[in-house]
Symmetry: C2
Subunit: 472 residues, 2 copies
């Protein structure tokens, strides 16, 4: 049968596909770094080239005002559902560089893992559907479903252009569901499907004391030290119970039904093993919730960076003029990112310590929380595909992190997003020594093949029936 | 008379001396930067060379294990007092470089000010006694007093080698008083003599959460964020009244007599003008004391640097593994630097937030507070010298900052130190755009000449009578 031919073709190309990933991950496509604008374009062109080689996909680069989007489509299966495949070719900054065991943009194979910045988030996972399409076209000359590919280059900076792009390309992007190659499974050996993710809202702020750096001996004791003020202000953001102390922060947070909390508590989760893996001495967070609940169904406020004064070797007796902090908040239904930024800003403004001045600037990411129904047609197809690959029924889980597209597609087009990534949560994708398990690359190729086949068999009417999901 | 000849010779050499300072300040002698070890040695050799040119001073470079000390002496006035002249040829780091209007090591003259790192602290002031000696030798062939010169290269990193050097060279350094070319006068047009300075004690600490940087979406809410912990811990160091909240911190602090506080309140000090000059919105500090009291007679605890997480452009959704802070405390009589470091360490240890681990490392500087009696023979000579140069009686003031040598000479040799520097407190010497007023260079040349002459005339018996100061 056709499916077996496609899988055989993919198996025969394993080495070739791994080589492609090495080439892709060698491009330092760090979107946050303006000095690498050329390398971002190089990565976009690389993706468009690979899409073009995969088959008749009309691959093209579409300008957005920010980083370009790479787009391609095949609509040769009339009557079948249309899946919009999402991924991103930009990667996180690689710092701190001195903690990488091999250079971040020289992909290195060690113990069945490929180490490089972006290899797990999201270059490995997004390469999978491209290669699956290539094998379908090589063996069958067609795909079992209609597929649209959309790869962006701004995911790691909060997808600032995506909202406008979706709104101005609704017809081009029209589909029955979104399949995201971004996201990550919970564990490498236990297949899982994400049915919920948190939103995000960020901002940055500066406290200024004197207009210039001062000698801390001569002036110390007389004027405000912005570092002390920053410590006070940041400390004021949480109460002693680990709750976010920003007025109104929890106002729109729904009480999670006890049944749902019971489900989460029943998940196979070994807290001690989790902490040991991170090298964390203790679980810390909001009182009254388990660690998984705090990460999956409760909002947070995290400082991602805080700095001011002298950081070099030795000492410098200075009272700096400025102190800085970057904050992101993870959101749950129905928190609104804009409102949360406004609430945090109001908190900061009303808690500015004496003798300092506050400046708040918006952060990069803004997205609401997202979910998909367990009986959605792509979820059902994904469960069958994963069961066949792994021999066990996948867990239905949530993730604490954010993929802004889910909420955007839901808001603008009423579409649900299925996260179908083959990276794993432990692959250090925002830290030094990011890696991607090579066998997960191969499992992903098989799973995407089976998923498309399942969706193609289930047909359009079923997709239509469940496509918009049940009301919440 | 001889004095007039010396002053005339100095006047005729004003341009030449300014040129020497430009050459000296062009050497980037940043002792805190290991990459500049060669430039430190270059600076030491430059000083030894200038001492050698000044006259028969047996100038030499003495190794210390750290940065070398430049030494020279002339003991040709038997029966006269011996003055030990102190200064330092190392300078503060120049960062933040982008805020300098002209390059920090290309001395630039603007509006009667010479701009360069170290020009005011301490290269300009320490060059003065060398040039004064040169003019005395050129015109008189002798100095009016015995003089020993000692210039160190570790003042900006807390003089770690000085204690051992003094103890192992007590005979070589024996003198009746120390004359420090380091320190700074209060205001450019109002001569002042410092009769007290604060001590210093520093440390650095790190809070570690997980053993690696984590994705703040995936893990946020579950494990400790060392930046939140750092904010809490730093905020715990002061109470709401601006007092240092470290247990035992004030135990050895003496109550300052009301008469002394009244004297300080009577000083000509315009707080509004002071704040305006710094660009500071408000006075901030310990409740119950005026700004001058807080800077002169009260101890402080200041964070000089605090950092962790992502500081680059854009955002990075990270929970960092580590957060760092550098602290220095300014001390008054009779606080002991070692004890203060131990008390702060104990406070940190007993306030470590959950889920983080603390590491404390000692900071560079350790020195007690110091003072000199208003009727000490060098103070009386300095008052007369300054009255002649400026036409007004100098103010007796204190400074909030630290010159470790005072306490060291007092502890090891029973000597008092007179600060006789011609830099001014507003010359940004620990900030970008450090400058030195050129006319103060010339005033300093005259004042040092008159001071040595005064001490020479007052003779040894008077020095002996007041040399060890009254008991405190």
């Amino acid at each position: 049968m056709g499916l077996e031919d496609v899988l055989a073709d993919l198996s025969s190309r394993h080495e070739e596909i791994l080589g492609e990933l090495v080439e892709f991950a060698s491009i330092p496509s760090v979107g946050a770094d303006p000095a690498r604008a050329d390398r971002m374009l190089e990565a976009a062109r690389w993706v468009a080239d690979r899409l073009g080689r995969a088959g008749p996909l009309s691959a093209r680069i579409v300008e957005t005002g920010g980083q370009p989007i790479v787009y391609g489509e095949w609509l040769g299966a009339p009557g079948e559902p249309t899946l919009l495949v999402y991924g991103h070719y930009d990667v996180q900054p690689e710092d701190p560089l001195d903690r990488w065991e091999s250079p971040p943009f020289e992909p290195t194979l060690r113990d069945g893992r490929l180490y490089a910045r972006g290899v797990s988030d999201d270059k490995g996972p997004m390469l999978i559907p491209i290669e699956v399409a290539r094998s379908f076209f090589r063996t069958e000359g067609a795909l079992p479903v209609n597929v649209k590919f959309m790869f962006e280059g701004e995911e790691e900076v909060g997808s600032p252009s995506l909202d406008g792009f979706i709104r101005s390309h609704e017809e081009m992007l029209a589909a029955d569901a979104v399949l995201s190659a971004d996201g990550a499974m919970w564990r490498p050996d236990e297949p899982s499907i994400v049915v919920g993710s948190r939103g995000v809202a960020g901002l940055e702020f500066t406290l200024t004391g004197a207009s210039k750096d001062l000698h801390s001996g001569r002036h110390g004791g007389g004027v405000a030290n912005p570092l002390h003020a920053m410590a006070q202000l940041v400390a004021s953001l949480h109460d002693e119970e680990g709750r976010v102390a920003v007025a109104g922060f929890y106002d729109r947070v729904r009480d999670v039904p006890e049944a749902e909390r019971a489900e989460i508590r029943a998940m196979p989760f070994d807290e001690a093993a989790y902490l040991a893996e991170l090298g964390a001495p203790a679980p810390v967070g909001e009182a009254g919730y388990t660690t998984l609940e705090r990460q999956w169904i409760r909002p947070t406020l995290e400082v991602n960076g805080m700095w001011g004064g002298y950081q070099g070797p030795g000492g410098k007796t200075v009272i700096p003029s400025e102190a800085h902090a970057k904050i992101t908040s993870r959101l749950v239904h129905d928190q609104d990112p804009e409102e949360i930024v406004a609430l945090i800003t109001r908190h900061l403004e009303s808690h500015v310590p004496a003798g300092t001045r506050l400046t708040v600037t918006p952060g990069a990411g803004r997205a609401g929380a997202a979910r998909i129904e367990p009986d959605h047609f792509v979820v059902r197809a994904a469960r069958r595909a994963l069961s066949e690959v792994y021999g066990v029924e996948p867990l239905l889980v949530r993730v604490g992190s954010t993929v802004p597209i889910s909420e955007l597609f839901e808001r603008h087009m009423g579409l649900r997003t299925l996260f179908f990534s083959f990276s794993t949560a432990d692959e250090d994708f925002h830290a030094p020594n990011e890696f991607f398990r090579v066998r997960r690359l191969y499992e992903g190729l098989e799973a995407w093949t089976r998923l498309w086949e399942e969706v193609g068999q289930s047909g359009p009417s079923e997709a239509g029936a469940a496509g918009t999901g049940r009301p919440e």
